[in-house]
């Protein structure tokens, strides 16, 4: 990597991108206020809301037109995922989109893609390769009967009659234990090194979309804390005038601003120079996880005891920061992957 290469550094959204973002921002603001989020607890799924969201074409908009999509880019998708994160909506957006894109790339037949694009079946992705005889926790598998998994170097879709039982968790997401069941209907998507590559790319996309969601979730949590700090007084001054309050909030703002742009850069690069810097998505995710952990903790804390109560919206963000980011496994493990990329990259240059 030439660190002095002349590249454009344009992080701005164009009109179309801004329109996509605004449309979904409006959708989530209208359809998914925090009352909807709370009402869907503890499972974390609102079927009617999901149906409406699918109606916006979210599942397949990024597929090629030849497969019924609109050629929307990964940049569009991270904008949508960001608005989803901001609203904490109880829908399986990220799993379903990542799985659908994987199905498309793997050349799954039309009837499967059709099922994903409409309100028929929810698809998800098992984030770890299957280890024989050992179930794993799969995001959204408590509502998704269709799980894509890599087992013994073979990538396949497992479609069960019904999703698994919900496992209660901090983030109130539809998490379930899952393992391949020989009784499920199966569809082989790929084998060999192609299978592993397709799988790795799908997991990276899942993480990239989740990074977008975590960053914007943190922005929401920050907004609540800033409002509180403007109006709450102690010792005769608004607490926001105290550096002990203001400085941690600036730290969050800095992490959010950088994290948002890192997500955009990773999405753009994956879209327009695929394979060039696969570590960027992992960087965006790792940074977003830390941002969300620190940011939602700080947001709750700056609201004192109130921020520790269930009725404060700060709690919703705090519990999902870890509840979401932990779904794909230890986020720190990606750092070693990034390091491997770097040490290899230097070897090639």
């Amino acid at each position: 990597m030439d660190r002095f290469e002349l590249r454009r550094q344009d992080f701005s959204l164009d009109e179309n991108q801004e329109a996509v973002r605004e449309a979904f921002a409006e959708f989530f603001a209208k359809e998914s206020p925090t009352s909807v989020v709370r009402a869907a607890e503890p499972l974390g799924y609102d079927e009617a809301l999901w149906s409406k969201l699918l109606g916006m074409g979210v599942a397949t908009m990024s597929l090629p037109a030849s497969q019924g999509g609109d050629d929307a880019t990964l940049v569009d998708l991270v904008l949508i995922a960001g608005e989803y994160g901001r609203s904490l909506s109880p829908v399986p957006l990220i799993s379903h989109v990542a799985a659908t894109r994987l199905l498309s790339r793997a050349g799954a037949p039309t009837e499967i893609l059709d099922a994903a694009s409409h309100d028929e079946r929810i698809f998800t992705l098992a984030p770890q390769p299957v280890a024989a005889g050992r179930p794993q926790l799969v995001p959204d598998a408590a509502i998704a009967p269709c799980v894509i998994a890599l087992a013994d170097g073979r990538l396949a879709l497992y479609a069960a009659a019904a999703p698994g039982p919900h496992v209660p968790n901090q983030g109130c997401t539809p998490l379930a234990w899952w393992q391949p069941d020989h009784r499920s209907e199966q569809y082989e998507l790929a084998t060999g090194s192609g299978a592993a590559e397709l799988f790795a790319e799908a997991v990276r996309e899942w993480k990239l979309l989740m990074a977008a969601a975590l960053v914007e979730m943190t922005q929401s949590a920050l907004g609540i804390a800033v409002e509180f700090a403007k109006t709450r007084e102690t010792l005769g001054v608004p607490i926001g005038t105290l550096q002990g309050v203001a400085f941690p909030l600036t730290e969050v703002a800095i992490a959010v601003a950088g994290g948002r742009n890192l997500v955009r850069k990773a999405a753009w690069t994956a879209q327009y120079e695929p394979g060039a810097r696969p570590e960027l998505a992992l960087m965006a995710f790792n940074h977003a996880v830390r941002t969300a952990t620190y940011g939602t903790t700080t947001s709750a804390h700056m609201q004192g005891g109130l921020g520790f109560t269930v009725e404060a919206d700060a709690s919703l963000y705090f519990l999902r920061a870890k509840g979401w980011s932990a779904l794909a496994g230890d986020p720190a493990a990606d750092l070693a992957g990034i390091g491997a990329q770097l040490t290899g990259a230097v070897a090639q240059s």
């Binding site: 770890q128 390769p129 299957v130 280890a131 050992r134 926790l137 496992v167 209660p168 968790n169 901090q170 983030g171 998490l175 234990w177 109006t231 709450r232 007084e233 102690t234 010792l235 005769g236 001054v237 607490i239 105290l242 002990g244 309050v245 996880v289 952990t293 903790t297 709750a300 804390h301 004192g304 005891g305 109130l306 921020g307 520790f308 109560t309 269930v310 009725e311 404060a312 709690s315 705090f318 519990l319 870890k322 509840g323 980011s325 932990a326 779904l327 794909a328 496994g329 230890d330 986020p331 720190a332 070693a336």
Partner: protein
Amino acid sequence: MDFSRVELTPQQQSFAGVVRATLGQLMTPDVREHERETGDGFSEKVHLALAERGWLTPAWPVSEGGAGLDPICQRLLELELERHDVPDITAGTTLLVWTAVEKFAEPELRGKLKAGVAAGTARFCLGYTEPDGGSDIAAAKVRAVRDGDEWVLNGSKIFTTGAHNCQYTFLITRTDPDLPKHKGLTMFLVPLDTPGIEIQGIRAFSGERTNIVYYDDARISDRYRLGGVNDGWAVLHGPLDEEHSIGDGEDGLADLSIGRHFLRPLEAALDSAIGWARDSARADGSRPADDPAVLARLGRVATEIEAGMCTPGPMGRVKGSLALVEGAAELIDLTAPLGVLSPGAPGAPGDGSIDYAHRFAQGTATYGGTIEVFRTIIAQHVLGLPRPGYPGSKVFLPRSRAAAGTPQS
């Protein structure tokens, strides 16, 4: 310097055995389930059973309802109460308030309450914080207005933990809004069955329950006043100092850090993570414990726990809280996604102790004042840094916003 195991006399050994056996019997699955459901930090059955043995007031003589324990047995009891996870929030606030009641209550009330405290039937909670007041206790706005031999209370308090299980609340009120901030305050021990008092539960996301207590023309007799009118700050100081500092701790037995107990849930979470590292297998068949990077992260949390235990007084309070906040988040990452599974969920390490530690952690940064309050104490009293001159630190200023007593979330 001495960190040795305490050698017990045969009597002390036998006492230790009795304590373990008793607590083992008292802490039934029902009691644990009740605590998990209510988040009360209190079980009446257990509380009264401890009272029967004098263990609510272990240092008091047996003749006064205590257990007459020597310092070593007191400490033994304390450690075993912790080991058995006995819900003891209300027992703690009761003893804290008692120091002020003993000093300031009129003799008859004091006598009656002393027996009740030991018997477990008189229980006290802390009526300090107000919904829009935060950690600035001296800015209290709950009004107490004299009316003959009575006082009329109006306003509300928040975070009055245990109020629904207590008979009295130790209430800080404003009796003269025209005096400087710290001078117009008066303390009362308010009977919670007084008409006009309403207790409303609030849940923290740790599962703990606390309360808002509303005072709506609640009338109490002047006999419940503790200390002089407008002299409340001095009355409050004893219990507050005890809550903010180390207590005695001079016998080399007590925990050095007043944040020691914040570390307990982190120790439980760490032990769960250690168990996971030893006993689970990765896709390639290796154990997490075979991976030096996993070991290093466990080692880091353990180091922070040890440092937390070694950090004295109010510094230990800040350190205990931060070690827990950071350590719990790290253990969630390390064991992800297992670490976010709730207590009771199939496969949750330590039955959800990592998830619990992360949720519980956030409260420790505000208990008894935010860590920012403690940092200010450290800056001024340990480092000797100059005191900032905030407008509200010297005089009482009526707030421009929100009328007194309006709860706000």
